[in-house]
């Protein structure tokens, strides 16, 4: 009996499970908010870990479910394709997004949510999918086109204004989405360049 094709095997998305479950665990520990939330004043007083951990703090259950859902789906698809560089991206992206918010959104005091990382994962997934030679390629092209469109709509159509399902006023942080998308674009470009460079340097 022939062995099943490698691509058809469903792999356990370990990194995605860790990221999503961490968000749910922190939601059950409200005291963690004080120590882990992105708080500009606290970051300025050298609590730099908040740039990373702030993404795992959410402001409401719907906020958590939507963000975790997006990260879960995108992360699962990426992990099915066994990308060895994915774990490094997962480590780097929260820092990049947090730092971008800190530099480019100085009026924002607090931030929370995995949406920046989710945007990054979407772009990562779509860029990887462009290399496929199947219908998946077109789906990834559509996703890749929709990300900047979504960010543009958020910045112009006032969607940020009245975010629903929140107890308090939460402005949509476009900076984090842009940073997430650009970080994925930069990372995939860098990895691909590295691969190309290696291939060129392989002696025939």
């Amino acid at each position: 009996m022939p062995a099943p094709k490698q691509n058809t095997v469903i792999r356990l998305p370990v990194l995605t499970i860790i990221m999503v479950s961490a968000a749910f665990i922190l939601a059950l520990l409200p005291q963690s908010v004080g120590w882990l939330q992105y708080d500009r004043s606290a970051i300025l007083s050298a609590q730099l870990w908040r740039l990373f951990t702030g993404h795992w703090i959410h402001f409401s259950m719907s906020h958590l479910l939507y963000d975790a859902g997006a990260v879960g789906i995108a992360g699962w698809i990426i992990e099915q394709n066994r990308r060895p560089d994915f774990k490094w991206y997962c480590l780097l992206a929260p820092w990049v997004i947090g730092l971008a918010c800190f530099i480019f959104a100085p009026r924002m005091e607090f931030y929370g949510g995995l949406s920046g990382i989710a945007t990054g994962l979407l772009v990562y997934m779509a860029l990887q999918g462009l290399r496929e030679r199947t219908a998946w390629r077109w789906i990834c092209t559509a996703i890749l086109c929709s990300v900047p469109l979504k960010i543009y709509c958020e910045s112009t159509a006032g969607q940020t204004l009245f975010a629903s399902g929140m107890d308090q006023h939460i402005a949509v942080c476009i900076t984090s989405h842009v940073a997430g998308a650009l970080s994925a674009l930069g990372w995939v470009t860098m990895v691909n360049c590295q691969k190309t460079f290696r291939l060129r340097n392989v002696p025939c």
Binding site: H63, Y66, I73, C101, T134, A135, W136, L161, A163, M166
Partner: protein, 321 residues
């Protein structure tokens, strides 16, 4: 002549036999007639005087009308429209700080004999309206401003003072207009029996109330939206409890109109949110320093992503990926 009179009224008491007609009897009879006439005149006088009071009070006092109101236009533009503010594009700095106040009563606010809307009642109504605003996440705080802080015909200069005093961005100005009509119904005929005055509800009254809330961005002088609350109460009463009934109906009118006002504001607020989204050129949105940022993943994005995930799974199962 007397004989002729007797012939005309043969049965009229006291019956006098024509055979017993003497001079003395004739004098007694004339005395009786004089007394009877005097009695009749007195009764008639009393009755007419009573009727006059009675009819004045209860029967002929038709179409009574009471009116109490304040005027938003007169408050904002006291110079009868001579001065026109040019509204600019409102810059809404989120989260918003909202003030709620009743437009102050002007000097010629109405001809009501009833007491005007009391301050405590105004506060209750403002609290009702504020509940809807409080539910909105983009509203940071709500200030209920007593009417005494608003100068009659104060205009936008007064609103600017309130803006500084209460640190508010937008203000909801509530104005009211209440008219009460009283008419007699057909049952008022029973008032002639006197008992009817106490038991028959022949006084039909109608109370028409309108509360109007207009939300202004103080800085840009622009009205963001408005919502009306209308109520119409019809009732009837006896003449003796008419005043009490009118007072109760006035209060009921305001309560009912405020309920409708809250519903209208809720609808208007939703429409306003849609308008801000669809016409970003009309409203500029900024965030106050120290705002909280978050994600914007919604059901639409998640659904599309789920579809992409399913497509990926199907393609993978079909070994095409």
């Amino acid at each position: 002549m007397v004989d002729h009179f007797y012939q005309l009224t043969p049965s009229f008491p006291p019956t006098l036999d024509s055979t017993q007609k003497t001079k003395a009897n004739h004098q007694d009879y004339m005395k009786y007639i004089a007394q009877l006439t005097a009695g009749l005149i007195m009764s008639l006088t009393l009755l007419t005087t009573g009727c006059s009071t009675f009819t004045d009070e209860f029967i002929f006092q038709n179409n009574r009308k009471q009116h109490q109101a304040n005027n938003l236009f007169q408050y904002l533009y006291p110079n009868k429209g001579e001065h026109i503010d040019t509204p600019s594009i409102p810059v809404l700095s989120l989260p918003l700080r909202v003030g709620i106040a009743f437009v102050p009563d002007c000097a010629h606010s109405g001809n009501s004999q009833l007491a005007p809307l009391s301050e405590s009642k105004k506060m209750e109504l403002m609290k009702e309206v504020s509940k809807d605003f409080k539910a909105m996440p983009f509203v940071k705080s709500i200030e209920l401003i007593p009417t005494t802080y608003l100068a009659p015909e104060g205009g936008f200069a007064n609103l600017d003072q309130l803006r500084t005093m209460y640190d508010i961005d937008v203000i909801t100005l509530i104005s009211y207009d209440q008219v009460q009509f009283t008419d007699h119904s057909l049952w008022s005929v029973s008032y002639w029996t006197v008992v009817g005055l106490y038991v028959v509800q022949g006084e039909r009254n109608e109370t028409r109330t309108m509360l109007d809330a207009a939300v202004y961005d103080i800085a840009s002088r622009k009205m963001l939206f408005r919502g009306p609350g209308i109520s119409n109460i019809k009732a009837s009463a006896t003449p003796f409890n008419l005043e009490r009934e009118l007072r109760e109906n006035s209060e009921k009118g305001f309560a009912s109109a405020s309920t409708n006002l809250v519903t209208a504001i809720h609808t208007q607020l939703d429409e306003f949110r849609d308008r801000v989204r669809s016409s970003p050129e009309e409203y500029k949105i900024v965030h106050k320093k120290g705002y909280t940022g978050g994600g914007s993943m919604g059901s639409a994005e998640l659904s599309l992503l789920a579809c992409a995930g399913l497509s990926f799974l199907c393609l993978r199962r079909n070994k095409t990926l």
